[in-house]
Amino acid sequence: MIAFTLNGTPVTVDCPPTERLTEVLRDRLGRTGTKVGCDAGDCGACTVLIDGAQVCACLVPAARAEGRQIETVEARTPELERLRAAFLRHGAAQCGICTPGMLIAAADLLRRTPAPSEAEAAEALGGVLCRCTGYRRIIAAVCDTGETAVPVTEPGAVGAALPRVDGAAKVMGDSFGADDAPESALIVKALRSPHDHAAFRFGDLAAFAARPGVAGVYTADDIPGRNAFGAIPPFADQPAIAASPARFRGECVALVAFEPGAEADLSGFPVTWQPLPALMSPAAAEAPDAPAIHVNRPGNRLIEGKVARGDVVAALAASAHVVTGAMQTGFVEHAYIEPEAGAAWIDGEVLVIRACTQAPVMDRDETAVVLGLPPDRVRIIPAATGGGFGSKLDVSLQPLLGLVALKTGRPCRMTYSRPESMASTTKRHPAEMHGRIGCDAGGRITALEFEGRFDTGAYASWGPTVANRVPVHITGPYRTPHVHASARAVHTNGPVSGAFRGFGVPQGALWQETLYDRLAEKAGIDRLEFRILNALRDGDRTATGQHLASVGIGPCLEALRPHWARALADAATAPGRRGVGVASCWYGCGNTALPNPSTIRLGITAGGRLVLHQGAADIGQGANTVITQIAAEALGLPVAAFDLVGPDTALTPDAGKTSASRQTYVTGRAAQAAGAALRAAILRLVNAGDGAALALDGARLVVAEQDRRREIDLAALPEQAHGYVLVAEETYDPPTSALDAEGQGVPYAVYGYGAQIVELQVDPALGTVQLLKITAAHDVGRAINPALVLGQIEGGIAQGIGLALMEEYLPGRTENLHDYLIPTIGDVPEVESLILEVPDPEGPFGARGLGEHVLIPTAPAILNAIRHATGAEIGRVPALPHRVLEALGAAR
């Protein structure tokens, strides 16, 4: 028996003395506020206080808790309460998975230093990783805990910087996929390929299944449906459990379900591997004699996307200046702090899966296909999701959990380890890009020629989307009369490349924006002015021939002018190798030239409860809050009056996936329409005019006009659909058109725009880069919630910094957060955000998407600033110190 004090209360536990304290707290004591992101000391999500000092609970043996005071996020100490309020006020929690660790590390600091400086805050929180926020809001919150008041939700809706509607749960330790499972759930473990490519055979599976504690063993043979999932149905090719051969390291080849409490030990599993030659680069995969990874994809080509307009060859030949260049990027890991986790159980006829996700309805449909069930017999209940950034669009453990629940009829749970999460889920596509861009003597862009090869890994995932998005966006938000751009996705035996914030566009922007700096130099024009000169304007056509209206890039770049002048002057006068760089982004919101509708339902019950069925997965970006704000504005009732339901495929209509920066725009439009429809129905009921004010007063709905006040007795109204007395359900699908063979058409109805300035200093002796400041101008059409906009900008910038300077996933070598480095709290400089609002005629209240845009300009602006500082041209990211130094050598 181990006895200690937990949050002021004595507790005793009976457990092995070396069990991790995280397990003691979470599994034995049910205190799941303390999170586990790595079990290795690398993420800090498990930070707790032992006798007032912060430690990683995942590294503490239970026995060492004996007699100590342990504090977790569940504690109600004065420091923690003040910190919680400050985190809410400052929007310091996005997905919330890092929040418990951040709060505890900050509580440790506040006890030592009640009014910390920014530097002290960073120092104290340096051991906790956050992948969502970019840390700036966290630092601000920790340095501003003077007020204790939790902000109240004010009446204002669209445009108000309201704290997130789900924030209170986040600052207490929200319930993620690993935090809740039915009693006596089986523990599911996957056996994964240790090889990039290998044939395998099983031995005596029955004998393994008969081991004590083993409830079942499952292989590809047990899959009842079609053993091939994939986000894009015509390309679906990825087995939930692979039959021989395994095509990438980390691929699941068998499942074992263990009884609760049994040691989940896969050692001795009867499998023999026969490693096969692996194709580890697109060049190897495209070699004439390369074997096909998928028989139906000759040359290992998954797909090629293309956009062609005008006569590039002639236009380049006639150009005054032409630059040629290449750029290379590596695999990038999403590195959300929450490894995949969830549980499944059978409820009557229905298989229920509660897990992290960005796309509940897609999860339902794909899981149903794999398991041979009709979709209505699968229900997906999204858990709070600790970041996704694209990877949690694909199913991961959903079909695995579903299979075990179906086969055993018993509840089961599964939590990926950090290395398992990193090895088995998708990555950003490595890109090899090259081409030419020309301009005339006056600096106007004439033509762009581009070829990109993207390593799509072993399975299709979102490879087709990347191949299609890149050529559409490769011009950047600049007028480019002649374009020839192609991007192909090539299979290798690398990890599956899928969706990652920007779908290939960040890679393309690295190529295009760095060439723009060289072109501006040749043309003798200031780099920012060069971009302003070429910025797309209203009425211009894009490379796909689309006529644009309400184009925000010009205003973004123009807004940066004073900052650019200031930054250049600072760089010129400061000591050291200072540099300034700028880059832009544009990004189409929603699926590329394909339908992607969202539906929102709003209802009022006889008792006066206003319910928003909100099916857009909130993975931290804030859909719960933004969609509510939009619905509130359209309906005319305050955000505080709304009760949110879902997302849950049984309770919420399909709001599509949380990807492609589409939720604010597409689901927002559906929410706006639903709010307006419900309002119209209410006004009709009492014959009130458009300007009437609504108020809910218990079971009465008050409709007030200047001279007249009407009350609707909700209880007296007849019940309508879904049990509501007043209800509206609306669907919105962006008006787009298919692209023809030359890539011409209207791929997106709404685009968002932005540009960023990076100021940095290069250490010319070591090749290290120190970021000093980033100024970000983003046109969001309408900032539905300015606080969330800032959070998105800063979070995107942090990921852009990682892409530019430190992140490169190497299968088998960087499968943990020790060797795979993402930015820490000390790596994100001050960010000044300029929010522009050029209303989009198609967006809800003029709003555009933002989530992916924000990451695109950062990395190229960093490379441009490095070049400005030193002349070094970096052709491959991440720009690790040794690569910067090499480039510096070449520039000399």
Binding site: P16, T18, A40, V60, E123, G127, L821
Partner: protein
């Protein structure tokens, strides 16, 4: 499942170690990341053993640092400027959580080529105090760490302390760590330099480089070249050939060998300059 013991006296600990079959556990910040759900084997937790934690003066005028002393305790200790490098290293190991749990002894016994504690201790002429039921012995640190992940510990032996001799308390020291991000980063390379000056010139220099060879190394050629240098000329006396002489950097995910070789010289210059400032 294995056994677990957390004795409070050295005698008890030695008794338990006698069979030579125990896995020693200190802060656990190296052991746990490699473990599954729980540590396997028979665990002997040393963190409660009296006399293994904390810093204290020795009878000979030196300093004894208990093997189980945490990085935080070192960072916060009141120590002469010769220890500035060690204290700076303590503040840069992992994040605060790691510093509160991780120990200097664990860092040495784990013997990672990138262990941040080693260069500052080499520059302090540290010796390892080893204890076993058979008695106590002392080894110079360079003889204690014999290779990557290899230390000269017998199966029934533990590191009890590191001893800093009185003469090494002279001068001031500096630590420079190079990594690819701000916090929580394993060193690409790191340097500790301790310099004793007399009448405006370098009388004694102790310079050690980590992560550029299988085990961190002192740089005798650099130390010799620095003898007699005025602070202003110290940096230029540090030449790449002298730095390279003691090192054998490798390529890994963090940096190339060629880069490390170049960076080492630069870092040595910076550490020496800082120690002379």
């Amino acid at each position: 499942m294995g056994s677990y013991a957390r004795p409070s006296t050295l005698a008890e600990a030695l008794n338990l170690m006698a069979p030579g079959d125990k896995r020693l556990l200190a802060g656990g910040t190296d052991l746990y990341p490699g473990a599954g759900t729980a540590l396997s084997g028979d665990i002997l937790d040393l963190t409660a053993v009296a006399g293994l934690s904390g810093l204290e003066p020795t009878a000979e005028g030196g300093v004894r640092i208990g093997a189980c002393t945490t990085w935080t305790a070192i960072a916060e200790a009141d120590l002469p400027p010769a220890f500035d490098a060690l204290r700076a290293a303590a503040r840069q190991v992992g994040g605060r959580q790691i510093q509160n749990a991780g120990t200097i002894g664990g860092n040495l016994c784990n013997a990672s080529p990138a262990a941040d504690g080693v260069p500052p201790l080499l520059a302090l002429d540290a010796r390892a105090e080893l204890v076993s039921p058979r008695g106590t012995r002392l080894l110079p640190l360079a003889d204690f760490i014999t290779g990557p992940r290899k230390v000269a510990l017998d199966r029934d032996e533990a590191l009890a302390a590191v001893l800093i001799p009185a003469p090494a308390l002279a001068g001031r020291s500096a630590f420079v760590k190079l990594g690819a991000r701000a916090y929580l980063v394993i060193s690409i390379a790191m340097v500790a330099a301790r310099i004793v000056t007399e009448a405006g010139r370098v009388r004694e220099a102790a310079v050690a480089v980590g992560a550029c060879s299988a085990v961190a190394r002192r740089l005798p050629a650099v130390e010799a070249a620095l003898q007699g240098a005025r602070p202003a000329e110290a940096a230029e006396r540090i030449v790449p050939a002298d730095v390279a002489a003691a090192l054998a950097p490798i390529d890994d995910v963090r940096a190339s060998a060629a880069y490390r070789a170049g960076a080492a010289t630069e870092l040595v210059r910076r550490a020496v300059t800082e120690a002379l400032a």
